[in-house]
């Protein structure tokens, strides 16, 4: 191998290592900017403090964590059954051709920018939720900017993630499983619910974790439709603020101390996402294919 070949290989290796450098730099810079705030407030008081009021020097992000969790759980409650339904529909109900059409539709859904989802939510979902809230509790004066609106939009946004990964793992269930199930006298529903879905559970599980990560990290849509009020939501019609929304909202006018606190929220978010994604990868790898 001559020197030119070696130099090219080095150069290509450096390009491959850019991702490592990027993740390292991101980690270093987010932590360097955010740690002073956590040190000043104290980790415990920062994470479990119940008041987020940076202008008064009160940096407790529990309401923001609660807000993120509330919209994410809501999105999962709506998104998991819908996503699994679509996955079963694609792989077990329709013909290959129809599935192709449906699959492109899901891909379109995945391509819509999150700010457009936010705008759509603001124009359509929020008024619907306002109407619903008004019907349930007329005196509450709900604006529709709420946990429920956020959850509905996030559910639509995580659907493509859940569907595409679940479909892959359902399709990798060996046909022998289906045949054996039918041979034992099970009908189609029993085969799907008692044989195929359990056999594909590792893929389904990781699709849900990845969807959850996407929901927690999503910014633009929740920023536009959850109301951004930093209190622990007491009902699904109550407004709330998420970690991501608060960062996006307050960065533009934050004083230095406040800005550090926003980076510190970034640290918490970053840690949650890395744990979730790592967990999803481990689940996929440990259980390997569908025949877990």
């Amino acid at each position: 191998m001559n020197t030119r070949e070696k130099a090219i290989e080095k150069l290509i290796f450096i390009c491959a290592a850019v991702s490592v450098a990027a993740v390292a730099l991101i980690t270093i810079f987010i932590f360097a900017q955010g740690m002073p705030a956590i040190q000043r407030v104290g980790l415990f008081r920062f994470v479990f403090g119940t008041t987020w009021s940076p202008t008064n020097g009160s940096y407790g992000i529990l309401p923001l964590i609660a807000g993120s969790m509330a919209v994410t759980l809501g999105a999962l409650v709506i998104g998991i059954p819908t996503g699994l339904g679509c996955a079963v529909f694609l792989s077990e109900v329709v013909t290959k051709r129809q599935a192709g059409f449906f699959r492109s539709a899901i891909e379109l859904l995945a391509g819509i920018p999150s700010v457009v989802y936010g705008f759509f939510g603001l124009a359509i979902i929020v008024p619907l939720v306002r109407g619903l809230a008004g019907a349930v509790a007329p005196d509450a004066g709900a604006t529709g900017l709420s946990v429920l609106s956020g959850a509905i939009i996030l559910a639509i946004m995580i659907l493509p993630t859940i569907v595409s990964i679940s479909v892959n793992s359902i399709e990798s269930v060996p046909n022998a499983y289906r045949e054996a199930s039918y041979a034992l006298g099970a009908d189609r529903r029993e085969t799907v619910t008692k044989v195929i879905l359990p056999a594909a559970r590792s893929g389904i599980f990781s699709s849900i974790i990845l969807g959850m990560g996407r929901a927690i990290g999503e910014t633009m849509a929740v920023l536009l439709i959850t109301g951004n009020v930093a209190v622990v939501p007491h009902s699904i019609f109550a407004p709330t603020a998420t970690m991501t929304g608060t960062i996006a909202m307050e960065m533009s006018y934050a004083a230095p101390d406040h800005q550090q606190a926003l980076f510190a929220i970034g640290i918490v978010l970053f840690v949650i996402i890395v744990i979730l994604n790592g967990f999803a990868q481990v689940v996929m790898r440990r259980f390997g294919g569908a025949a877990a």
Binding site: M1, I8, L11, S19, L108, S114, F270, I273
Partner: protein, 290 residues
């Protein structure tokens, strides 16, 4: 005799119950799938019907006035093209080279596992974190200020995993015999990659690049604190600028002008969908050709 009929009877009612359950189950699945399709058409239909009539030549060619309430979005279109094109131009060679390393040079082992793991992590980082990082690193630390360059570099990191992954997939489809043939003719490894392997998968690379472009155009959170949001036409890579996605957010959150908001949303959605469908089309053509 009596016992047997009874037995038969229960079995029959059981099988009817089973059938109803099955019908209800698959009925639900049809309903769920139908709702999903309906939601897609509702989103597309709503934005397009309300927005397309307002996409006029004046809207496309005039500069915004009064924070976007009047006039068009010409400078925003220029900003979008500048930021996203720059991101793609920087990310493509790095991403393709990264994929070439993964597929052609690496011999397995720990280093490659670490790099792969980090690429996965990078792909999973939420865009708001990229935004924070871009602000702290490019805007402040590297002293680029709010600029086209800072935004483009932030987006570069975001779309890198997409380009790496798609390129790698298509590198895998190049038959080993091609490489062996080239090497046995005396070509060096790099010459083989350049002249034999990469030309075979330009379609896959293009798909990755286009998908990356689609992601870059729709991105907002990563650009909120990196490009500044100026409505002037950028004159250099250090000018502050605004992309269509960011413009849409500003209009929607401030309630500036319904008409312009719908028009911007419709234009954005049309561009992104065109980009994404052309990416899948190219991808499909490539796999069918094989």
């Amino acid at each position: 005799m009596e016992l047997e009929t009874q037995k038969f009877g229960t079995k029959r009612s059981e099988s009817i119950r089973k059938q109803t359950k099955s019908k209800a189950f698959f009925g639900m699945i049809w309903v769920v799938a139908g709702i999903t399709l309906a939601v897609l058409f509702l989103i597309l239909g709503f934005v397009l019907v309300k927005g397309v009539p307002h996409i006029t030549w004046t809207f496309l060619s005039q500069e915004p006035e009064m924070l976007g309430a009047e006039g068009g979005i010409f400078s925003v279109i220029v900003g979008t093209v500048a930021v996203t094109a720059m991101a793609v131009v920087i990310a493509t060679p790095i991403g393709v080279a990264g994929a070439v390393y993964f597929n052609e040079y690496s011999k397995g082992g720990r280093v490659i596992k670490v790099i792969r793991f980090f690429t996965e992590v990078l792909a999973g980082i939420p865009s708001i974190i990229f935004g924070l990082f871009g602000f702290a690193f490019f805007v402040v630390y590297m002293n680029m200020g709010w600029s086209v360059l800072a935004g483009a570099l932030t987006l570069t990191l975001m779309i890198l995993p997409t380009i790496i992954r798609t390129t790698e997939e298509s590198l895998k489809t190049v038959p080993m015999s091609y490489r062996e043939g080239s090497l046995s003719l005396g070509a060096t490894k790099w010459y083989t990659i350049k002249k034999v392997v990469l030309p075979c998968c330009w379609g896959g690379i293009l798909t990755g690049v286009i998908l990356g472009l689609g992601r870059a155009i729709g991105e907002t959170a990563a650009l909120m604190f990196t490009i500044g949001g100026s409505l002037n036409i950028p004159t250099s890579v250090f000018s502050s600028t605004r992309t269509m996605a960011l413009h849409l957010y500003m209009l929607a959150s401030e309630g500036i002008s319904d008409e312009k908001t719908y028009a911007t949303a419709a234009l954005l959605i049309i561009i992104v969908l065109l980009i994404n469908t052309s990416a899948t089309r190219i991808g499909r053509k490539m796999t069918n050709g094989k």
